[in-house]
């Protein structure tokens, strides 16, 4: 009876489903989540070394030295994740000649319509206009994406400088390491603060999605969701008669369950970190 009840739930099993993220990208996002949470938790004790929880958190990893090593392990994972993504983009662009990733509805490139949609969205918040009709990627999703890109460059770059200072000092003056330390911490704080509040809200915690949107784990959205959230994309695909090309089966039944467990853990950890950061800043 339980299984039957679950199947009847009007979520991922309801009606035709369309593929939004392929397995490769879902795994990459999983790796990103894992390494990012690891980096945040192993890095924050140092950034907030005067917070009351900091020594205990560092000790939980086996001391600051061990936390530092774990931080580097997570860093390698995240860099690997980033490099894999960029390699794949280059492959899509130069080997498969998918020029549409550069511009247009399927592209992450910020475009004039993003500005228009953002203004329209804000107007809708204030009841000054209709809700904008979004395409495949919304402006806040693009912001999330490019924030990670920027963060990878800034945090990753400064992190490598701090990891191998003797090497980088061959070409960089010592004062840059002061900047690297500052930027690594502040940008890390920005990233963690952003992901654990804004990204969590935009993607999971807002009333329409609460408690979570499983799409990044299952890769699938329902026709209902597609029509409601990305009507422009739905119309475009239907007009081009390619909607069916994107339709997929329901996928393995355990994926949504696992997704829920993983998301609950991740969101909880993230929110705990937010509370810790706020307490460290305030007290």
């Amino acid at each position: 009876m339980r299984t039957r009840a679950m199947e009847n739930r009007p979520t991922v099993h309801d009606g035709p489903q369309y593929l939004r993220f392929d397995t490769f990208n879902r795994l990459l996002h999983g790796l990103l989540m894992f390494s990012f949470l690891g980096l945040a938790f192993t890095g924050m004790p140092l950034l907030f070394s005067d917070a009351r929880w900091a020594p205990a958190l560092a000790a939980a990893f086996g001391g600051q030295h061990a936390a530092g090593r774990l931080h580097r392990v997570f860093a390698v994972l995240l860099i690997a994740c980033f490099v894999t993504h960029v390699m794949r983009l280059l492959h899509r662009l130069f080997v498969r000649k998918e020029l549409e990733i550069l511009w247009g509805p399927a592209s992450m490139t910020p475009q004039p319509r993003d500005v228009v949609e953002m203004i329209a969205h804000l107007r809708w918040f204030l009841r000054l206009g209709p809700r904008p009709r979004f395409e495949h990627f919304t402006y806040w999703e693009k912001f999330d994406y490019w924030a990670v890109f920027w963060g990878m460059g800034v945090i990753g770059g400064s992190g490598l400088m701090l990891w191998f200072p003797e090497f980088f000092a061959r070409v960089l003056p010592g004062s840059w390491f002061n900047v690297a330390l500052l930027v690594h911490g502040e940008e890390g704080l920005l990233a963690a603060g952003f992901i654990f509040t804004i990204h969590f809200f935009n993607s999971h915690l807002r009333p329409e999605k609460f408690p979570m949107d499983p799409v990044i784990f299952t890769g699938r959205i329902t026709e209902h969701e597609l029509i409601e959230e990305r009507p422009e994309e739905y119309d475009r695909l239907r007009a081009a008669r390619t909607l069916a090309d994107h339709q997929v089966g329901a996928g393995a039944h355990w994926v949504p369950t696992l997704a829920k467990a993983v998301a609950i853990v991740a969101v909880t950890l993230g929110l705990v970190m937010v509370v810790m950061i706020v307490s460290a800043v305030l007290f």
């Binding site: 140092l46 950034l47 918040f125 200072p165 010592g174 390491f177 002061n178 935009n202």
Partner: protein, 417 residues
């Protein structure tokens, strides 16, 4: 009382009663030690007020005074001319100065004698409190209360005694901390006679308060006192900024104990001390510690871990010089070498890193100053925009619940539905 003891007591009483005629026969000849022990050698011998007047014959026999041929009346001089027994209950106090004139003179200058004389302090130590009474042994004897390895315990008899500490108004924890210290452990655990005991720093007979300029532990004398063992350190300290400042009379200049503490000295390799001394440096160099805390080194030590540079790692511990001084470990000439002790491969460019960078100081760290301004603007900008964005979104969509609003146009539900 057992029969044996009853018998012995009766015997002792009989001796005492039998003695006067014997003495009378010998004229004015003073009693011998054996004469005295005939009564006082009985462990149950008591005076009129029931106080024990027993002397352990074997303890006296082993004492330095017995060994050097002295008898009871050499100290208890008022009994030398005694003709009748039992002798009066109340005897003259023994005057050690009869023989030990120099030692008693020194003692008279010391805190214990002063406390007795001026403060009416009856618990302050006199000769016998440290040396014992009939059982005095030379300090070279390991059994002696003043032997190098046992002296701390002897001082502790009073200085660890709550009653004496209270009545004498003296510090009570010093001996305990000393016994846990590197010096105390060297004595008690390692049995090192080269390790200092209380007297090596404080003196023995002429112990002075640390506020007394003639004291061995007076603020400006401490380096010399420590230097009597740590001579190499004293030389380096004396050359450095702190030693120089101390000699010039700077009242804030730290001496040895300011950093190492006086009694609780621990190994400088210990983590707790490395962290503690950071605070100690910061009690004067607050600004330097503040900027240090903003760097990786400072953050790690803040967390309680010390596998990174602390103050002395870079500035040296005793031979500290201003960075303009070529002898300084942080001078331009030596900085590569200093950073290189941890950062193998440190270059001239590497050491341009500022371990005390201040993000609020545009003169000292212009690049960092503007980077910090930019990062703050970025943080505030992002959180302000998305904070408002999220709040507005939440307040707008909260009313639609899980299924969310239908996309426009037109936005019917927005119109006061």
């Amino acid at each position: 009382m057992s029969l044996t003891r009853l018998f012995l007591a009766s015997l002792a009483a009989a001796c005492c009663l039998a003695a006067p005629p014997a003495l009378a026969q010998q004229g004015a000849k003073p009693p011998t030690t054996d004469d005295c022990l005939a009564c006082h050698g009985d462990p149950s011998a008591t005076g009129a007020n029931n106080r024990s007047v027993a002397v352990k014959p074997e303890a006296f026999a082993a004492s330095i005074h017995s060994q050097s041929g002295l008898s009871c009346v050499d100290c208890h001089r008022d009994l030398a001319t005694m003709t009748e027994l039992p002798h009066p209950e109340k005897l003259q106090p023994v005057n050690c100065a009869t023989c030990h004139e120099a030692a008693v003179q020194q003692y008279d200058q010391g805190v214990h004698a002063v406390a007795r004389r001026t403060g009416g302090n009856t618990v302050a130590a006199s000769c016998k409190d440290c040396h014992g009474v009939h059982d005095i042994r030379p300090s070279s004897d390991p059994e002696s209360a003043t032997h190098h390895l046992t002296l701390a315990g002897t001082c502790g008899k009073c200085h660890q005694n709550d009653e004496v500490v209270k009545r004498g108004r003296i510090a009570g924890s010093d001996v305990s901390r000393f016994q846990d210290s590197i010096h105390g452990q060297a004595l008690s655990r390692s049995g090192l006679v080269s390790a200092p005991n209380c007297a090596d720093c404080h003196g023995f007979h002429d112990i002075k308060r640390k506020t007394d300029p003639s004291s061995r532990v007076f603020r400006t004398t401490v380096p010399e006192t420590c230097g009597s063992c740590h001579e190499g350190i004293e030389l380096r300290y004396a050359a450095g900024v702190h030693g120089t400042a101390l000699r010039k009379g700077n009242p804030l200049a730290p001496n040895c104990v300011a950093c190492h503490t006086a009694h609780g000295i621990v190994r400088t390799e210990s983590e707790s001390w490395s962290l503690q001394v950071l605070k100690e440096c910061g009690s004067c160099h607050a600004e330097s510690v503040r900027t240090y805390r903003d760097t990786f080194h400072g953050q790690v030590t803040q967390l309680g871990f010390v596998r990174v540079a602390t103050c002395s790692s870079c500035h040296a511990a005793h031979d500290i010089f201003p960075k303009e001084d070529p002898r300084s470990t942080v001078s331009d000439a030596r900085r590569v070498q200093t950073c290189g002790t941890c950062h193998s491969g440190a270059s001239a460019s590497f050491v341009k890193y500022d371990p005390h960078a201040d993000r609020d100081n545009p003169e000292r760290n212009p690049l960092l100053f503007y980077a910090a301004k930019f990062m703050h603007a970025l943080l505030i900008g992002v959180f302000l925009f998305f904070g408002i964005h999220t709040t507005l979104w939440l307040s707008r969509s909260a009313r639609f619940g899980r299924r969310g609003p239908r996309p426009g146009p037109p936005d019917d539900e927005g119109a006061e539905a």
